[in-house]
Symmetry: C2
Subunit: 315 residues, 2 copies
């Protein structure tokens, strides 16, 4: 039986309409319109696409948003001043500094300057620490989105074996903590893991956040497992695409390669996952869509937390 | 072949003499004597023993220390004021609030008040977050001590399967992060884990931080594994003691029960670990001794970090 495809679109749309309803109620009942400010540095084309999509979605859901775009040769001090200014602006609820930053800027120092109460990306160490300690806080959007996919697809997490491949600060580690708090038994794997397929085959829930196109193959997947694909890679090689996709998907993929020069591919070999997994998230159309939806959710949450509508620190 | 016993005493002594040497050099070269202040609330007898031992060890290593002891009926605000006062005292390098606090005081709120730069217990969320994100910071003493035991016993961590049983904020979760950063493949288990013995038997390194006397038995231990016992439990039942200890250990245990009413027991069945494990830490005489040593190490580290001798935030 081919695997069940977990559509990110349906779930992201569901969350976005909840956020829009909450934003409307904040506006109508309290006169508050949550405001997200995205800071973009330089001319990275992917960053430009991401930020535009975030700003556009915010508008669609009834949030305010601003984009601050500065040249790649901005100094770290100047960028720090921009962030500090946003921290003190009372009308700003969410601040995101789009990564990557130019090499002459210390990303970590800039991210630590963001007021944790406005840190809608959940990258500040105090938010990472609160997440690790199991307190309600602003959580990184991608792993938070994965939890939403699992819950809203009625996939049980408690008591299950969850294996996360990848240990980044943005996805792998917070993902592991969120699954742990949902009572999964959690294993974190990485490039130094011995016999990776033997470990990942034991997963009821397998999260791939590696950054290598089609890396997770049939041998990595236990029969019937839920496979969550966090990867987003560009593939321009048609032979590789033939490896990764089933016949009925190939035509569309080849068309994308011909038109744009590449097709978007996850960390999971979709053709093999289809035959082996119980369910999986496609790329595109899976986890990626949740990331933006969760950013909007975090912005509304930050707007409420800052005003004491609920107090995460007291939980 | 019976398991190798990893003596906490030798390793703790080694670390303590390193700390004493560093303290002497700080004093001689910079006129700095690191100062630890322990705040103890109420009359919990175990807290009294722990704090006295910490203060005494500090003195032995050439650090300054103070104990602030207040009544159990202190208000949260009054306790908060004490912590804030210590934050502003420039001569104080390390602040520890001995847990548990009386029930009318919100532990988390008090711990979050401690200046992260003086948080020698490593409990503040910003330090938890920095640990999770892989940055050099003040790390909780017990899991940091476990890493010292493994490294100084030449037990390889990288590429090994490490299984942590227990997911507390003080031990389990920081332990998992430290093992991960040492390149182990890390699994976190807990009360909701299915078939725990099957999971723990796959561990090359098994860390037990459960809080139940002798819970980890032969069936949980893979042949030749390194077993680290973080538990400290009181056992007063001689029949249970007979289950947990080999014949040559029993006389001493019975004597302790007769004399003090209990004997100190870890989370691991020592008799069975001796037959199954490759190496294990005893209780008493294992991990517990490291906790105090690492607290001293953190106090010196805090004294240096605060003065910019090295800057964790820049790593």
């Amino acid at each position: 039986m081919p695997a069940n495809i977990l559509s990110g679109k349906m779930i992201a749309d569901e969350i976005k309409s909840e956020v829009a309803a909450e934003a409307a109620s904040l506006r109508d009942q309290h006169g508050i319109v949550p405001c997200l400010v995205a800071v973009r540095v330089g001319e990275d084309p992917a960053s430009s696409v991401y930020v535009s999509s975030k700003v556009k979605t915010a508008g669609e859901l009834g949030l305010r948003s601003e984009q601050i775009h500065v040249d790649a040769d901005i100094t770290e001090t100047e960028l720090a001043d921009i962030v500090s200014g946003l921290n003190t602006r009372d009308d700003v609820d969410g601040i995101l500094v789009q990564l990557p930053l130019p090499k002459h800027i210390n990303e970590r120092r800039v991210l630590e300057l963001v007021d944790p109460a406005k840190d809608v990306d959940g990258f500040h160490p105090v938010n990472a620490g609160r997440l690790m300690q199991g307190h309600d806080t602003l959580v990184p959007c991608t792993p938070a989105g994965v939890i939403e996919i699992l819950k809203r697809s009625n996939i049980e997490i408690a008591g299950k074996n969850a294996v996360v491949v990848g240990r980044s600060n943005i996805v792998g580690k917070p993902m592991a903590m969120l699954l742990l708090h949902e009572n999964a038994t959690v294993t974190i794997c990485h490039s130094r893991t011995r016999d990776l397929p033997a470990v990942t085959r034991q997963a009821d829930i397998l999260v791939a956040a590696i950054g290598r196109a089609g890396f997770v193959r049939a041998e990595h997947i236990g029969a019937g497992a839920t496979v969550i694909d966090v990867g987003i890679n560009n593939v321009s090689d048609k032979d590789l695409a033939r490896e990764l996709f089933s016949a009925d998907d190939l035509e569309k993929r080849f068309a994308a390669i011909d038109k744009r020069g590449f097709t978007l591919v996850g960390d999971v070999n979709q053709r093999e996952a289809m035959e082996r997994a119980g369910a999986f998230t496609p790329v595109p159309g899976g986890v990626g869509l949740l990331t933006v939806a969760m950013l909007m959710k975090n912005t509304v949450k930050a707007a409420k937390m800052r005003r004491g509508f609920f107090n995460a620190a007291a939980n």
